[in-house]
């Protein structure tokens, strides 16, 4: 029989490898779109500053994408290695969604990535722009399918169960467009864009602090701050809608997120801070605003809200983690909103490139998107517990028949390998970012010679009209 320890280790392994993985897609989804915009602006205006920025971020994209790919393959095999009962039961439903992700997205990204990285001099700017667009489209299609699969686990729909105990699709459209999917997709894609704009903004700010006259950093900082200004408030609205959707379909998750141990007949409070105590069934040292919880979630201050006291104890998600991860995400979201407003104010005063305070704030917020993305995923995935398919398949019935030592050693191996590899990768990313983009910036192709004979090895990028 399975010990609980083996399952705890398998969960730890999935959470660990997922946490490392998710930050790279979050960056590459946003960066791919940003690169497409930069290349389009270059083709349209002919200004050198855009191709310089394109080549600058392309090198960073290559590293982030590579780390996303190798950590992603780990995820796709882990369903089988560590969650084989889950794979057997849900394979007929979410297997095809993931197969479509591979067929429509992974091949598209990988097939055109090489051309995007190394092909500009071989095929000319227009065809190359097509390759960039294909990669950017691929990252978005990938988000579509994997979030559909994830959302089906949160809000399963359109299924029946066959004699072997497997979930079987009854209506594929209902499976794909299950109730939480549109909200999760919008929330995650916006998160990726916001994360990227904060990274780009931080890099721009770093260089502007040293020299406010550099063309490249000025352009990237301005673009990034526009993005943050526009997307942060939209993201807060999207998050609110996502929360209302969760309240409708996964009310227990909301109880954990809000720390609502008790039911509130006449309006639930909003806990700003506190220490949720599952044994005591209350939030200790709570700082709360009465009735605000009901106002946000039910849009009425006196609306009654059920608490975890209406839910059997064995169906509770881990409350403290869900509660705190949610607060980290929301807190960072409002800081991003504040950064956007501040930048708008400085822009209006004509001090966007000369405001050290704004630049320091933007630098500080550079990693905020990643932390918010991780916190958001911890909220939604921990809040789904103790189920893998919400309300239908328990996590304890999903794991592979592996003994604890097997899972423990693989977890240890992943921890060692990831810290070694990702520490180096992040160091290289930071080193690239520490250099400002130069006039005549080269893409990866100049460092990795892949040209054949007959093609001039000089930087063959057609020069635009404008000077940087």
């Amino acid at each position: 029989m399975l010990g609980l320890d083996a399952i705890a280790l398998a969960r730890a392994q999935f959470a660990f490898t997922m946490t490392f993985h998710i930050v790279f897609p979050a960056l590459s989804i946003g960066l791919a779109s940003y690169l497409a915009v930069l290349e389009a602006l270059w083709l349209w205006t002919g200004r050198d500053v855009f191709i310089n920025l394109f080549n600058y971020w392309l090198k960073i994209f290559a590293i982030a994408f590579g780390m996303g790919v190798v950590s992603g393959i780990v995820m796709s095999y882990q369903f089988g290695t560590n969650w084989s009962a889950f794979a057997d039961k849900t394979g007929p439903v979410i297997g095809p969604l993931m197969a479509y992700e591979v067929l429509t997205a992974f091949f598209l990204e990988a097939g055109f990535l090489g051309v995007m990285l190394f092909g500009l001099n071989r095929i000319g700017p227009r065809l190359h722009f097509l390759a960039t667009l294909m990669v950017a489209t691929g990252t978005l299609i990938s988000a579509f399918w994997i979030l559909s699969a994830n959302s089906w686990m949160q809000t399963p729909a359109g299924y029946t169960v066959n004699a072997a105990g497997q979930f079987v699709a009854a209506d594929w459209l209902k499976v794909i467009f299950n109730p939480s999917f549109p909200y999760r997709l919008v929330h995650m894609v916006l998160a990726a864009y916001l994360t990227t704009s904060l990274v780009v903004g931080a890099v721009g700010a770093f260089h502007l602090l040293r020299d406010p006259h550099l063309a490249g950093p000025r352009v990237m900082f301005s673009m990034a701050m526009w993005m943050a200004t526009l997307v942060a408030p939209i993201q807060i609205l999207a998050g609110d809608q996502h929360g209302l959707n969760t309240l409708k379909h996964q009310p227990v998750k909301i109880m954990a997120m809000e720390g609502h141990f008790q039911s509130h007949k006449h309006g639930a409070p909003l806990y700003l801070f506190g220490l949720p105590d599952e044994t005591a069934g209350k939030v200790k040292y709570a700082i709360d605003i009465p009735k605000l919880g009901s106002l946000i979630l039910k849009h009425s201050p006196d609306a009654p809200m059920d608490g975890l006291d209406t839910v059997p104890r064995e169906n509770w998600p881990p409350v403290p983690i869900t509660f705190w991860a949610f607060r980290v995400m929301v807190g960072l979201g409002f800081l991003m909103f504040a950064l956007g407003l501040f930048s708008l104010w400085e822009r209006w005063r004509g001090r966007l490139y000369q405001s050290p305070l704004l630049h320091r704030f933007a630098m500080l917020m550079g990693p905020a998107g990643f932390i918010a993305v991780i916190a958001g995923w911890v909220t939604t995935e921990t809040g789904r517990q103790p189920f893998t398919v919400y309300g239908l398949l328990r996590t304890t019935d999903s794991a592979s028949p592996l003994a604890a030592p097997a899972v423990g050693s693989s977890l240890l191996a992943f921890v060692i390998v990831y810290f070694a590899v990702y520490a180096a990768g992040i160091a290289y990313l930071l080193r690239l970012m520490a250099q400002p983009p130069h006039p005549g910036e080269q893409g990866p192709s100049s460092e990795s010679p892949v040209r054949t004979a007959g093609i001039t090895p000089a930087p063959g990028v057609p020069k635009g009209a404008g000077a940087t």
Binding site: A62, G66, M67, V69, V70, G72, I73, S76, Y77, F79, G80, T81, S84, A85, A87, D88, G91, P92, G95, P96, M98, A99, E101, V102, L103, F106, F107, L108, A110, G111, F112, L113, G114, V115, F118, G119, I123, A164, Q166, V168, A169, S400, P401, A406, A413, F414, V417, V421, A424, G425, Y428, S445, E447, S448, P449, V450, T452, A453, I455, P457
Partner: protein
């Protein structure tokens, strides 16, 4: 029901196709990593990695299709096999991580360049060996109870699985060496020719050893190969191996740069067909057939639509990417 049976067979071929494409395409990438220690000069190593830098990521995607497709089309087989080969799979993933990041990282540093070359080599060896061991572990059969793997943590480790592991390392190395013949010139290519001779004989020995050892695993494999009327189907396979080997020897002797790589692909295809003959119609040898493991008809149909449209499309644009980077890779171009 008849329709369902047919589509299941179609799906078995689709998965087999995806795995085969992965084996040969990432096979030559991994082969380059396996051969890295034989090319210590930095200039050579730069050329070697540049022959695959634009395409390795697409090559590796076939592995995700093989795994993801198996979960979708044969979820029971995916659920039984992966825990059975747990350690080789984890080792493969770790190997692929080191190999994959090394492609980028080795250009990002001068001081530590050798460290990522070691990661590139070690990752390639580990991934290739683990894949071969996993193949052997599956061929020798796994212990199944109900709908789950019921064997132990170390069941995969046997002399047979080690033999298939070493054989795949040799096979990948031969693919890598003949790829270098195709894509390079000068002394680098000459060296690749010399290495290919040794590797070809090693590969023939490996094919022979696995061919002898497989029927000894279980009487069913022997019956499959050596009883009438199966012999009509199976006998041409070793004959074809002999013909391809002769052509390969000729092309190496006559130094025809293009042929050795494609003939090696044929050699892989024949070995792969041999494996298919041994396994069919089992997907978990001797315990679960493709029909027992198959996903319900509507899952198969839903995906078949996508496969029918998208696989040809994928082959077209992947072919285009190879076309863009066609020809010999030279060390002097564009490097600073």
């Amino acid at each position: 029901m008849n329709a369902s049976i047919d589509i299941t067979t179609v799906w078995a071929f689709i998965i087999a196709f995806a795995v085969f494409v992965y084996v040969v395409m990432d096979g030559f990438d991994l082969g380059l990593g396996i051969l890295f220690p034989l090319f210590p000069a930095k200039a050579d190593r730069d050329v070697i990695t540049n022959t695959v830098a634009p395409v390795w990521d697409g090559n590796e995607t076939w592995l995700v299709l093989g795994g993801g497709g198996l979960m979708a089309a044969f979820p029971l087989a995916y659920a039984v096999l992966l825990p059975a080969i747990y350690t080789p799979v984890i080792a493969m993933l770790v190997g692929l991580i080191f190999r994959g990041v090394a492609f980028e990282f080795r250009w990002r540093t001068r001081a530590q360049r050798n460290r990522w070359d070691i990661a590139f080599t070690g990752g390639s060896w580990l991934a290739a060996l683990a894949q071969g061991v996993a193949l052997g572990a599956i061929l020798q059969g796994v212990h199944v109870e109900g709908r789950q793997y019921a064997g132990g943590w170390w069941d995969w480790l046997t002399p047979f699985s080690l033999l298939t592991g070493v054989s795949l390392v040799i096979g990948y190395a031969l693919l890598g060496a003949t790829w270098l013949i195709l894509k390079t010139e000068g002394e680098l290519r000459d060296k690749a020719y010399r290495i290919s001779w040794y590797l070809l004989f090693a590969m023939l020995a490996a094919i022979g050893a696995v061919s002898v050892a497989t029927p000894l695993l279980t009487i069913k494999y022997a019956q499959r190969w050596f009883t009438w009327p199966n012999v009509v189907l199976t006998a041409p396979v070793p004959l074809a191996v002999a013909v391809v080997t002769a052509l390969l020897l000729k092309s190496l002797a006559e130094r025809q740069d293009r042929r050795p790589f494609f003939l090696t692909l044929l050699l892989f295809l024949l070995s792969y067909a041999g494996l298919g003959i041994s396994m069919y119609p089992y997907i978990v040898p001797q315990s679960i057939t493709i029909w027992q493991a198959a996903a319900p008809l509507n899952s198969q149909l839903f995906m078949l639509v996508g496969v029918a449209i998208l696989i040809p499309l994928i082959l077209v644009y992947t072919g285009w990417a190879y076309w863009v980077f066609r020809g010999k890779v030279r060390p002097e171009s564009g490097y600073h």
